[in-house]
């Protein structure tokens, strides 16, 4: 078993998790071979002033539905009452498996949550 990466379910690579050594090496290789590590962190300071991550929770004008998926080991956590302050929250899914990279940490759960978008889509 892998040493637990920050924000990742300790069951990495087990059950629904695709987060095995190969997956990590693939991601590291992509950053390395495209020489994009430095440019990938530009975003942090470029948005530090304009507030990429904001302090004030305000409700936008849009009426569009908003869904949220929480995963047990994610480093970032916003309770349903907090998420509801910033949008028209219609679903809050919470999963006891997975973490910060749900598309590899718990893909079946993310896939099903994304499919629920269909319930709120107006053609």
């Amino acid at each position: 078993m892998l040493k637990q990466p920050i924000g990742s379910d300790p069951r990495a690579g087990i059950g629904p998790s695709k987060l095995d050594h190969n997956e990590i090496l693939r991601s590291v290789s992509l950053y390395c071979l495209t020489q994009s590590f430095v440019s990938s962190v530009f975003m942090y300071f470029q948005n530090a002033v304009t507030g990429g991550f904001r302090q004030n929770y305000t409700r936008p004008m849009t009426d569009a539905p908003m869904l949220y998926s929480a995963f047990k080991y994610n480093v970032g956590f916003w309770p349903p009452d907090a998420v509801a302050k910033v949008g028209n929250l219609v679903e809050y899914f919470n999963h006891d498996f997975g973490g910060h990279f749900p598309g590899v940490d718990n893909p079946p759960a993310l896939i099903q949550d994304l499919r629920e978008i269909g319930r709120y889509w107006e053609y």
């Binding site: 990429g52 849009t62 970032g76 598309g103 590899v104």
Partner: protein, 160 residues
Amino acid sequence: MLNHGWPGSFLEFVPTIMPLTEAATTTTGGNVSFHVVVPSLPGFAFSSAPPANWTTIDTARVYNTLMTKVLGYEKFAVFGTDWGSAPSYSLYESYNQSTRVAHFAFIPFLPIPRAQFEEQNITLNSSLLEFEQQQTEAWSATGNAYLLLQNTKASMFNSL
């Protein structure tokens, strides 16, 4: 549109892409399948580095143009996680004619400290929510030194 974060990439979504394109049902029995678009954030993988003074608001503007004018989707749904939640939220907030559903696994807001929960009417009514709150508090206490480096000393990485 699925938007990755840092230190991720389009690879984060590879296991989800094929299943999402296939015919499936929602939990209420409706038919659902998707066209899936997975852009790389500026500066990531094969995407060019962001110009000076570029923000995630600019990224949202470009993504809206990509979806509507380039790819021809009059309306679309967006999913965002980590830093990908910032342009995704800007799309939700500022392009509501085209962004008709938004879905997040992370939102671009600083988490509300537990000490303010009562005045902000926030309750944690399950052991899973409580566990998750403790996880994020642990990250804030001992897991986010990289964040300070990248906010203030990013060019240092050039010399490593």
